[in-house]
Point group: D3
Chain length 239, copies 6
């Protein structure tokens, strides 16, 4: 059975990562996964949040947003409703946790890293593309800090990437596009490091619950996808 | 090895569910899991949200909050910061998704059910206790709707409960209290129905990523705990 | 003439005050006046508001809220409207003023006391029950401060309690329940100390204004009720 | 003993009420009580609030605000803090209740009256001046509605005015200016109709509670002041 | 051709500037231009904004608002919508820029001047009347600072005033009232100093664009009006 | 004298307009003016704002924002301050007015067009680049509406473009980059149609006011720049 866009069930979409996309941030990439496009900008702030003051450790936080017309129907900007979109809150917490898991906050020193992931075009998997792209931007920013002798050693302990998997009409699929995602019975996001260890698993079944066996299939698919993404990250970063 | 409160690694805490706790809601319970106490009130509103209008289907939504002094340090009320707590947003979306997964929205008819989970004392596991308690309150509310002939049949397709599991100093533990949770390397929340199928899995490793083998251990612990909770729910509901 | 719940015109409802209700606050009670139930938690903060800095004096402030389903019709949470309920503002200012009137702010020292009154079930008289309960919780908190030698002497100068009175169908009544309150021509809240002195009087006639003679009757009823409440407070506090 | 501004203890300040002060509102006055100056504008809206729809009755609501520099120290505008001043909330609820108490809402018909009281210079007693001035502006607006045959008869059942009284250094005083108010042990606002009946009494003692005898003295002073204010209102309104 | 109010095309409206209008501000005027009435209050704050700290320079900022019933239709207060009116934002930025352009911020020293322009009655040209009036209030405030020896020399480098011009039915007109403004094809606000130099030009054509020749006519009219206004300012300030 | 980037005083920067940049909007371009990059997306909504209902006319509104790291220093997102940036308000009103000036709202019919201008990289002139780019996106959207027979004829009456001019160290310059803009004595934005008529002029002098002669020079420079931009627009749109 072929998928909407002719992929096999275990194919990821075409991935392009454009480094140094915006000129001002310490690290910046545009990541494209199929038609999903996210600008990931990394800013380094010499001021840590109050709960890290005098700890000798840094912090990493993420913000996520979409242009109003990143989707087929226009979304009202949050500021016009004076409320942050609830889905946005969930996603930016996920991105922050994921990136923090591979950074040695002591080696970073008392500085705050802010990762802005702004989706300019959305076709499913924006949160996982954000994590995969943000890692590259973060790596670029840390290289810059090392090169400018602001920090001594790279504070990054491992590569990390993320992918979505799901069950659509009974079939487990890797890297869902929006049309697949909107029909999925189960939707799962997996964040994994280069050692194949889990950093985050979020699986949700709104209508049809899933069995242990299905869970195992999804985890296996996810691992395959993430290994491919980490290879792409490595190529971009010249490793 | 004994835990802080003398439990075995696979023991849940003492659970008490007090039905009909508040007099006005259509369904109401106070759930106590150890020292965690949550009031779960279910309100039935004859007006569905706009995206369900003229679909013949109902909807279920959840809200979650804590009293300022449910914790050892007082939290500022959201309204005084004009922003909803980000953790709160994440939790109330989880509770809503979990409960919707076991309700036949067609059988419910075009009405909206609002589940308010208000934590009056927090000692870890408030989101999972909220789901477990909210299910009982929802069941009571649906029984009332059937009894008053507002709906014909019970729209609930399955029991559902939730529990936290985690890895603390290398050991997988069931139903973490706050002190354990604050030291955990991995924290996972599992929502499962009475058929042992997964409705939601959320596992997070901020510092130490987890292997596939550890994941399997956590899933098994979680299943044990949820089966025990569902037995307690059934006793309360007289089944 | 008997009242809805068979009380005499000058009877207060059954009062239960449960001390040490929540485990974390410095002082905590659940007060029940008939079906009205309020959790009163007292927090001690070593940081005074800016207008008390370097004065050697402390401050007391109160916050009041209701669970959404404390009433027969569900209320939207303030945070979802981004505006504090106007009635709430009025009530929390009243509670704060009342409690401050019996505390020696110099003896308290430069620390801030926050009193959270959260109504979990409302059947009239929630603001007066809050004051009566908050006093007990505050007394418990101050005893703890003295016992832990944080302050030297009890900073409380007098007992204080509050009650509502009103005129319903021409009759003056003590301690109105919600059904009476909603039919009242005149509604008055009285806050009084144990010497029988007034701390606050708030009387309102939306439709039928009241004469001086009626005012005198209401003041007398209120004094009777408050004396009874102070006796109950003293029993709980072991005096 | 003479007061700061040479008044006797039972003298009100010089009162000027300028009718038709602003050209657009249906009723408008500038009221000056000593140095306190409030613009009271009355707007008639043909749309009632939802809770009055199809009742045949109208509604009256009030808003109160101060220019930032109405006081000796500049106040930040509410919009810059995104929160309504808590004192403002309390005051506008009082003004609304007071004016509603003298209007026959049936005779008004299904229309909404909004009373805007904007203090341009504050020297104590702004809430009571607002009520006294707003009554005149409301009367002018109702005369206009009758004259234009929008309503048949004047919906106003009685004159109404308000004044502050207080205890300063042991002495009961009528109509406190700001300097007196800031030293007062007891502060009371009284709203009364022309029959000498009470519409609202709000008495507060933050530091020194007051006895029944003192209360009686304050009520008597207030009655004297209000009778004088109602005479001034009648003169302006040509009665 | 005569205008609505019998003026010639190049006549400004009757201008009255009442100095020392409100008693508390360091500088205060009520400016009336025809039926437009604006209270301009100047406050001096010894604390500069953070971007001016340790620069030896001061700052000037402006706030603008309207009473809800300054217009024929009542406007909702900003705080009730939790959003500042967009037109207000534009206007207060204009007023601030205009006044800063004639003040020597070094001579002012490290202090912040806040100019509050509150329109109590609006009949067109409120932003330009605000600038013209605010200059006088600012001048009064600076004179006070010099007289009290808080600053050594007047920090004001030039007089400044503002006026609106526009094209109505093809005719260029000076100082539009509201009725003219609402029919104008082109609306332009000009701010100019006493040397006849431009400080700000804002010209807008929503429907009919304007030619270079029309622009020249409007600039000439504006200059005439501003020269007349500066003469009036000088008379008030006794120069 | 050569400019920072080697341009002549009357040169515009290199302009690239990428049509159909984002796939979902009815019209979309990425406009680059030097290093300034703005995504302009046009959405067509079949629902007009309330003030256009039943008028047979449509409406056009614009929103403008910047990615947090579009600038060398990261800006906090508006939603995190709960307030729209004041500069943003000013700019989006300008963009809306400019585009409305060339559209026949009757020919558009009762539909609302929303133009989103999101700056992804800012190097001066973002508001004028937004207008120039938005016109092309709007044109594309209208062509689509005509092609799909939703409207009969193109509702666009004229081309329109915008450019900034300014005086830097006494020299009038065309199309200022950020570094020039930050040193400018006078900053002016000009919006003009293809007939050379003015739609909007906004000139501001914060420190050094400008003479009539300087104004004339700036207007001439602006006209030159806009004519060049309109040629580029025409090429893109195939005219």
């Amino acid at each position: 059975m072929k998928r909407i866009d002719q992929r096999n069930y275990d194919d990821i979409r075409k991935v392009c990562i454009h480094p140094h996309y915006i000129q001002y941030p310490e690290g910046s990439v545009l990541i494209e996964m199929g038609n999903t496009k996210v600008i990931c900008n990394v800013s380094v702030d010499e001021k840590v949040p109050h709960f890290k003051k005098n700890t000798g450790e840094g912090w990493i936080t993420a913000e996520y947003d979409m242009l109003p017309r990143a989707t087929s129907i226009r979304n009202t900007r949050d500021i016009n409703r004076l409320k942050q979109n609830k889905r946005t809150v969930e996603i930016q917490r996920l991105i922050g946790r994921a990136l923090r898991s591979v950074v040695d906050l002591k080696a970073l020193g008392e500085r705050n890293i802010i990762i802005d992931c702004d989706v300019i075009q959305a076709d499913g998997g924006t949160r996982t593309a954000s994590i995969t792209g943000a890692f590259v931007a973060l790596h670029l920013a840390c290289q810059k800090l090392v090169k400018e002798e602001i920090i001594e050693t790279m504070p990054i302990r491992s590569y990390i990437a993320a992918i979505s998997v799901g069950i659509v009409q009974g079939d487990p699929l890797l890297d869902l596009c929006y049309q697949e995602d909107s029909q999925a019975d189960v939707d799962m996001n997996i964040v994994m490091n280069e050692q194949g260890e889990y950093v985050e698993i979020q699986g949700t079944a709104e209508q049809v619950p899933f069995s242990r066996k299905q869970l195992d299939q999804l985890l296996q698919l996810g691992e395959k996808g993430i290994q491919e993404l980490i290879q792409i990250q490595k190529k971009i970063l010249g490793e």
